[in-house]
Amino acid sequence: MSRPHSSNPITTNDIDKKLAAKTPKPLHLMTHIVAGYPSVEVNLQTALIMEKTGVDFIEVQIPFSDPLADGPTIMRANHRALAAGMTPEKSFTFIKTLSQTVSMPIIVMTYYNIPFKVGIDNFLSAATQAGVSGMIIPDIPYDATEPYLELIKNYPVYPIFVVSPQITSLRLKKIASIAQGFIYTTLRIGITGSKTTLPPESLDQFARLKQTLSIPIAAGFGLSAPEQLNSLIHHANIAVIGSKLLDIIENHPSNINGRKNALTDLETFLTECNQTILQSNKTPKSHP
């Protein structure tokens, strides 16, 4: 499933490899952690659970004071990580350890002021050295007149773009021409009626994305129950699970017992997710 990216000297990276893996998986999973929340130790434990339960990609958010695009749970996690002393530098130290510990490709997510302030090249070097495969910066549109989009071409790190269902065809096409690895689209399911089938609007969205894009599609959505994953199969390549995991961690008191419970719950939840996907493979759905 890898494709040539003429503008990038490194033709494939772990993301492509993962998506092109021999074992066919009807839906990959990407899960989210915020570096330093509640601590790098727990981050690491969490990541191990993720890998163990079959998660394919891990998204590590380097915390920022003003995470514009994130909901309340993730925002709180950002603020708590910062309050506990997390920095971009410490984040990369953690990510390096992480990349040496797990084999899931690592996608870094942060806001543009962090690389901008640290220096784009510094930031991208650090990411490369830490073993990062992709980079999501939600507040830098593809047409921002910023050096980041040029400079990243010099690194083995894929720029992952986030698109919205409302995006114009023109913008989508332009993004498609420079995107690498996959494109991340946001959508909400499970809110309207059925939890296991996509509403017609979402189907239309996917159809439109697929028509324009030859690159895999990751879909972020307000997942609340594993069976909701069924609805994405055959539509998206990757399902992104974010807030739900933080909710599980947050909703346990932060003592050792609580944390243990949290990690157990997390493992149970992710196991269910993975099983839902694997089972769906055996019982094909009737999708267009």
Partner: protein, 439 residues
């Protein structure tokens, strides 16, 4: 000095900044370039928001050319807002300081008590034009929230005001009035629970309700086209001022002074004078308690470029790029970012920046009340407090009598709970106690 180009500025909504490095705003051609002021500004937002910003830009472009829109705007500014606001010669203050004639443009007489309404009216009309039914807005001190709630009541728009829980506690009088006018207050308990966090929360809500909601940003910042839209709707301040001062004094001012939080009242006042090379433009920031990081909101103390809340400008941030806590006695100046257009003109040297501390502010507050019978907003008091400094500087450097205009961005009523404990602590405590229910 050009005394005759006021026609150029006669209609605020078509007023454009004629600066040498920037082509004039051309309504039809939405190039990325015009989202910037020099290198400041831009649109640093999730792709999700781009369609909404484009829609807004389009609506605004149409509105600027629409006589109907112009008429509605003018009517509301006049009948609802109370425009034009007066320009008054501050004779006592002038005599007190000497060597300068000081005028005050009293935006405090606008409905809801501050210049914020100019922009709220304009954007609320845009909301209508876009066929949207709901307005959301962030507010810190509550003045922008109040203005927004008022015009939404008037225009039958649903209104949600995002406000940090700390600000809700501090600024209850404004919360109370917003609720009276039917606005829903959405408490924001993230981060420091203040303005910056309210912006984040409002932005997020907007992302999820783009089809029906307009995010009515309250200062000349945020992603393009907001900085320009807010600036344009506020430009009527300077347009009126320029016209009136020429009628009264037959000359342009030598200095124009305004406080700068986000920057909307400063830009609203300065825009009409930008091409008048001999008019010095001075913006006053909140110096807070001292210059220790976290104790002030003076972005220009050590201008540090950053990108946050949708735009590139100077931010108070730490070396990692995290926005910092701020402090000012005046809730309306207590914000870590600044209008990108102000950043640009600061860089160009066209606008100078001064700093007034909390103590300076209280001095300015008392000075204007006593000499002119106008109790200013604490924000405005920052600008007032620098007048002695400015006049002294002029005395040393020029022979000619200076002609200074200060933008009186708001009235002081809203600041009772903040100022009274400083001015008259015992009386105030006594008074509050008498209003507590007997237990």
């Amino acid at each position: 000095m050009n005394l005759t180009n006021e026609n150029h500025f006669m209609t605020q909504i078509t007023a454009t900044t004629k600066n040498p490095t920037q082509s004039p705003l051309q309504a039809e051609e939405n190039t990325a370039r015009e989202h910037y002021f020099g290198k400041y500004g831009g649109r640093y937002v999730p792709e999700l928001l781009i369609p909404a910003l484009d829609e807004l830009e389009k609506a605004y472009t149409e509105a600027k050319q629409s006589p109907t829109f112009k008429k509605k705007l003018e009517q509301l500014l006049r009948d609802f807002g109370g425009r034009p606001t007066p320009l008054i010669y501050a004779e006592n203050l002038s005599n007190h300081l000497g060597h300068a004639k000081i005028y005050l443009k009293n935006e405090g007489l606008l409905h809801t008590g501050a210049h914020k309404l100019n922009n709220a009216i304009g954007q609320a009309l845009l909301t209508k034009q876009m066929g949207k039914t709901e307005v959301i807005a962030e507010t810190g001190a509550g003045q922008h929230g109040l203005a927004t709630a008022a015009i939404c009541a008037k225009l039958n728009l649903r209104c949600k005001i995002f406000m940090g829980t700390l600000d809700i506690k501090r600024q209850y009088p404004n919360v109370y009035n917003m609720k009276l006018m039917g606005a829903e207050i959405i408490p924001v308990a993230d981060g420091n629970c203040t303005l910056k966090d309210a912006v984040n929360a409002a932005m997020k809500y907007w992302i999820e309700h783009l089809a029906t909601s307009h995010y009515l940003i309250g200062s000349a910042l945020g992603p393009a086209p907001f900085p320009r839209i807010v600036r344009d709707f506020q430009a009527i301040i300077g347009t009126e001022t320029r016209k009136t001062i020429l009628e009264r004094e037959k000359r342009l001012p030598s200095h124009v002074v305004a406080c700068a939080g986000g920057g909307s009242n400063a830009l609203g006042m300065f825009t009409a004078f930008l091409t008048d090379a001999n008019v010095e433009l001075i913006a006053v920031e909140a110096g807070g308690s001292d210059t220790t990081p976290g104790n002030h909101a003076a972005r220009m103390l050590k201008p540090d470029i950053g990108i946050a809340q949708g735009y590139k400008s100077f931010f108070l941030q730490n070396p990692d790029g995290q926005l910092m806590d701020t402090h000012s006695i005046s809730a309306g100046l207590d914000y870590p970012g600044i209008a990108p257009e102000l950043a640009y003109f600061a860089e160009q040297g066209r606008i100078q920046f001064l700093r007034a501390s909390d103590d300076d502010c209280l001095t300015g507050y008392k000075l204007l009340s006593l000499h002119e019978g106008i109790v200013p907003a604490l924000e405005t008091a920052h600008a007032i407090s620098k007048l002695p400094h400015i006049v002294n500087h002029i005395k040393k450097n020029t022979q000619q009598e200076a002609l200074i205009i200060v933008n009186l961005s708001g009235r002081g009523d809203k600041d009772l709970f903040i100022a009274a404990p400083h001015i008259n602590p015992d009386d105030w405590t006594q008074f509050l106690k008498t209003h507590l229910p007997k237990t």
